[in-house]
Amino acid sequence: MTRKKNGLRLAAAVVGISALALTACTSPAETPNASGGSDAPAAGSTITVGTTDKVTSLDPAGSYDNGSFMVMNQIYPFLLNSKPGSAEPENDMAESAEFTTPTDYTVKLKAGLKWANGTDLDSKDVKASFDRQVKIADPNGPSSLLGNLESVEAPDATTVVFKLKSGNDQTWPQVLTSPVGPIVDDELFPADKVLADDAIIAGKPFAGQYTIESYAKNSLISFKTFDGYQGLLGKPANAASNIKYYADSNNLKLDVQQGNIDVAWRSLSPTDVEDLSKDSKVKVHKGAGGELRYIVFNFNIMPHGVKTEDADPKKSQAVRQAAANLLDRQAIATKVYKDTYIPAYSFVPAGFTGAIEPLKEMYGENGGPSEAKAKAVLEAAGVSTPVELKLQYNPDHYGPSSGDEYAMVKSQLEAGGLFKVDLQSTEWVTYQKSRVTDYPAYQLGWFPDYSDADNFLTPFFAKDNFLGNGYDNAEVDKLINEQRVETDRAKRTALIEEIQTKVAGDLSTLPILQGAQVAVAGADVTGVETTLDASFKFRLGVLAK
């Protein structure tokens, strides 16, 4: 199992490097588009990507989901961005970006930037982009990511200063690459409300690698290279791209198999992926993913929880630890997900700076289950068995395989008779309303907002986290706050590791699986591996055939 995961990580790294070299070669080889790019792209240079994701809004203030963000990444500029193959924020529209004081993050823009509609891209646009996020605070928007932002200033046309509430925020550069980070044209986007997609298409406020040529919402988008883009990502390897939207992953699969589309990106079922991997016409590409699937324990109402009749923190901890001892993650990953997921032994997925695997050493045997250990833990704490556990999962939000996954979790926990699991599923909206109050243990999943270990710690284990499960460990809370502002990378990594080890003892949540990014492409399509990096941004620009 160790070998497998490291293998995946290694493969992603190697592929990343080689593909970088590849793009470096192909870019200059492309003939410069002297005519201004209005003519039809040469045959074979248009790439079509299919997806089952959806676009909520093209306005960054009005959406906070993978599908919308994927499109924004192609068309909007960012101050900081990461190169394909890496998750490290580097200058995109910025010429320099740094903390000039602990609470002032100053960004200098490149000079002479233009939007595709001809107007100037300057610090006013940047200020307006962040100001409107905060002001609109749309229910569907990502403004909550700007919690640490006090104000934005634009002292001159190329300088932007972010005034932060708490200093030396190590996640700030990552925030600028996140869904809240796209820069928009202040002459087109109103300061106080979300702009409709049609108005955006008509106004051409694009300054990323691509502009949008035609737009049929959640049906088909066609992109064309934007020659004025001077940022980090360079010139796309193709002249034009399309995104075709699907509702049913099965149709997506059939279309990529038959060559109607070049790449299928999010989300094919495990059976589809396995079947396609046997097909020589297409190639399955995998990269380490940031998605984490886990069980949340409610410290109040789980067996022996704080608000139960036989409350006992020791016993309730023993129950959680026994569950951790019984899980066979590899079996779930292989049998249910056909290895499109890999076992997760930590709260921070493998591949992120500071990720370690404390659960592997602490529970079970060699990453597998151990009934003996589970039994010992429960006996030591004096918990009477079988422990009756109500376990909830959601069948419609985390993919259709959730049912199979939790049927297996149930069967694993019940092996040896230590648990008696009452498994229930509830539809998503009710699930979200009831999870905090009614569910002793339940399924959740997480997809990071940006590529930093903190995004797997603060939202989960700090005080008043979004889980609302009654977990409160002052020591962990303190460590989390420390790592956020620790400027020394080695020290910060050590802190992140310490937090994981501590939480592994408490088991506020029980991680099960980590997602792999899977894209299936026609055998003649190049560049796919390059973009399956830890930034989780799928870039059309690296694809060619």
Partner: protein, 364 residues
């Protein structure tokens, strides 16, 4: 329900109804007006029903962001959107908006509801029309044949075929059709309304009707037109077969009914050919109830479109309705339901008027 309809609506079902409601037995004009006015409460009831049901099923903000925000943050956003106010207040506000023709903007993807209705309504109309054509092409000739050859083996085969059409869930039939014609034979595309090139072409048209076949023909691009037709075949067959089963049975039952009538017998005794008896004497009078029931079928077609559109990625109203329902997008669901309600209410009105013209007893 589809099968029941024709049992219920059979023309000769109420033999003597002369004393139904003597005092209300006004003129046809009066019936027309009363019946027309009834359209409005029908729509009103549906709108109300949908409004309150949707509020019970949850809100769009939890649906979108429930897995990412703390309960407090969620509550804050729900309050900001105004969904925490008393439902009755929201209801009257909504009614007010509808009366001014303002259907609002969808919550989950920020589009004008009217735009959603016109864009996807065209797609559903296209699918409904195509499948109606298929249903008629299969249902009427085979229904006539079954009536002619009644109680012989071709009749039995046709009737079992009709039931099979109806008994096979659209998603199962769709899957089989996709496997056979899309995957194994590779003759037809599996999903969507057009290939990528055709779709790009059609979305860039000036003032498109949204009905792809019309648009393709109008633009004079025969390649796009043939692409559009190829895409239309499987969904139209899947939904069309479902309805064809009903039509087949309907034609058979009614033609058998008229075949036995006195004037047909009289024609037979005069030596009119059996073929002529079937197509002229028996079929024509049978047409009237058939048309009536077919009108009612339009409502059912719209319902059946949900599963068909979902199976074949046919982005129409039914498809979007299912999507918006999952997202708890009240505004969108309400808008679509109002439109469906109007279509169905108007269709029912027309059907009832035709029925009243044929058989004065049904007036009340």
């Amino acid at each position: 329900m589809a099968i029941m309809t024709d049992t219920v609506e059979e023309p000769s079902a109420p033999p003597a109804l002369k004393a139904t409601a003597p005092k209300a037995g006004g003129s046809f004009a009066r019936y027309l007006v009363t019946r027309f006015l009834l359209i409005f409460p029908t729509i009103f009831i549906l709108v109300t029903l949908v409004f309150f049901l949707m509020r019970v099923t949850g809100d769009p903000i939890t649906a979108a962001l429930g897995g990412r925000l703390t309960p407090d943050q969620l509550a804050e956003r729900i309050a900001a959107a105004g969904y925490d106010r008393p439902v009755i207040v929201q209801y009257f506000e909504y009614l007010g908006q509808i009366f001014t023709g303002n259907f609002g903007r969808t919550i989950s993807d920020n589009r004008a509801v009217t735009e959603v209705l016109t864009t996807y309504g065209a797609a559903t109309a296209e699918l409904a029309f195509n499948s109606l054509v298929i249903a008629l092409l299969i249902g009427i000739p085979f229904g006539l044949m079954a009536a002619k050859l009644r109680d012989r083996w071709p009749d039995a085969i046709l009737r079992v075929f009709a039931i099979l059409c109806y008994a096979t869930p659209v998603f199962f039939a769709g899957l089989l059709l996709k496997l056979i014609f899309g995957v194994w034979l590779g003759w037809l595309p599996i999903a969507g309304r057009a290939g990528i090139n055709a779709e790009l072409e059609l979305t860039s048209l000036q003032n498109p009707t949204g009905i792809y076949l019309l648009d393709a023909l109008r633009s004079g691009n025969m390649e796009a037109a043939s692409d559009v037709i190829q895409h239309a075949i499987l969904p139209a067959v899947a939904l069309g077969l479902l309805t064809a089963g009903v039509f087949l049975r309907l034609v058979r039952t009614n033609v058998i009914g008229t075949l036995g009538r006195d004037y047909v017998e009289a024609g037979r005794s005069r030596g009119v050919s059996e073929y002529r008896l079937l197509t002229k004497h028996a079929y024509r009078p049978a047409l009237i109830p058939i048309i009536t029931v077919m009108g009612l079928q339009i409502a059912l077609l719209l319902g059946g479109a949900v599963l068909t559109e979902t199976t074949f990625e046919w982005k129409g109203l039914g498809f979007m309705l299912a999507q918006y329902l999952t997202a708890r997008d009240f505004v969108a669901v309400q808008g679509i339901v109002v439109l469906l309600a109007v279509i169905v209410a108007v269709t029912n009105f027309i059907v009832d008027i035709i029925a009243a013209l044929i058989d004065p007893r049904v007036r009340f």
